[in-house]
Subunit: 241 residues, 2 copies
């Protein structure tokens, strides 16, 4: 995406400066505050919070939460602080995703953005402060985004799909125990299509990655579903995998 | 690793600046120019080139090849240019690894390093210019490194081991076709221990990832070994995986 050329100035010749942005993924949560209430009718979906820019460039356009890095904070600390300041969230799972440094990312000063990503459970997502300038959007129905943030979101979704295949990253959306239907909803949300429940159940049980607990889902009246957990020896989805 | 405090000055309060470093992995190549000639006696090993610093801080200490990012070059272009200027190499496989931004990385100005990694074939590694200030070292026998570069190398080796398990990243060391013994040498070098040839052969053939070609290794006189290639539909080891 070529940047508009109107604001190009001699600042263009400065060495790149640094910023942090974060892609926060949640399942269905925040829908009550979202701009897109009808979207959850067909099951769980993948959501992320965006912040409306109050300054040029891209004033009034939605963007990923983020900001500058202070001289005395680590990259992850900067990601946490910026996310907390804009959305009030403090996610458990926060990891570096990628550094975006194309020369045409911004029409004015060149900025290299080190992007983190967070996966949050509904209880965390519900803590996010929303309003006119912070809202949750469905990844399948995003508004126009500032800078190259749409490319960043697309990349993050792609990475999430890849990670889902070989790690227990789904746990970060679910908590320690979950039903097979809840696990299937995570997969469906990330992959973006429905899965056959019987096939999914068979594949998951055959994958040798889950332990059946002696607990069932609380609150279900008739034949409450069994709760499972991941085998502890499986590594948490990490930057390496 | 806490940084020495002697050079701390008010520059410490500047916002972080940016640099690029690259970890280049090769198998055995460059051993002839290395500081550690006897190390290949027990099979292929993993090597990387280091550059001796000619300026403070850490003057005369070995460091990863790298340098600054120009205002008009992408991160990858900066990695390629810096690597070419210091070692004369232009690797095919070059990917972003991670951004290192701890507040104590340097005793003076704070620098965030975006680290790339390259995997090179012996023919590429042999092109590297070596001398008093550029040398290949075995990953198992590194000298003291400047800044947090030892941590960076350790992280890169760990990532390489993880990637090896589920992608055809080994191909970047080998070329398109290879014998099972050559493939085993790549695994042995990265994992850091010998593998049973018969078990390795059985597992690789059962993995359903290789295609037997109708070619054999050139130059072998008696029962030349068969050449294999990866199935084309398998994704190249990428940042996503």
């Amino acid at each position: 995406m070529p940047a508009p050329m109107a604001n190009v100035s001699e600042r263009r010749f400065d060495p790149p400066s640094l910023a942090i942005s974060t892609v926060v993924f949640a399942l269905s949560a925040g829908a009550g505050n979202s701009a897109d209430d009808e979207s959850t009718a067909d099951g769980a979906t993948l959501w992320l919070p965006l912040v409306r820019r109050i300054r040029e460039p891209y004033r009034n356009t939605w963007a990923l939460p983020g900001g500058p890095i202070a001289w005395n904070e680590s990259l992850e600390a900067a990601a946490r602080r910026n996310l907390h300041e804009t959305t009030d969230m403090t996610p458990n799972y926060l990891e570096q995703l990628y550094a975006f440094g194309g020369t045409d990312r911004s029409p004015d000063l060149r900025v290299v953005s080190i992007v983190y990503w967070a996966l949050v459970r509904p209880v965390e997502a519900d803590k996010a402060v929303t309003g006119d300038n912070v809202r949750w959007f469905r990844t399948g129905n995003l508004p126009e985004l500032a800078f190259d943030h749409r490319d960043i979101v697309d990349y993050a979704v792609w990475r999430l799909r890849n990670k889902m295949e070989y790690s227990r990253i789904a746990q970060n959306f679910l908590g320690d125990t979950f039903t097979l239907a809840q696990l299937r909803e995570v997969y469906e949300s990330v992959i973006g299509r429905r899965l056959d429940p019987a096939n999914f159940r068979r594949q998951m049980l055959a994958s040798n990655t889950l332990i059946e607990t002696d607990q069932v889902l609380a609150g279900a009246r008739h034949r409450p579903p069994r709760l499972y957990r991941y085998k502890p020896e499986l590594a948490q989805g990490s930057t390496a995998s």
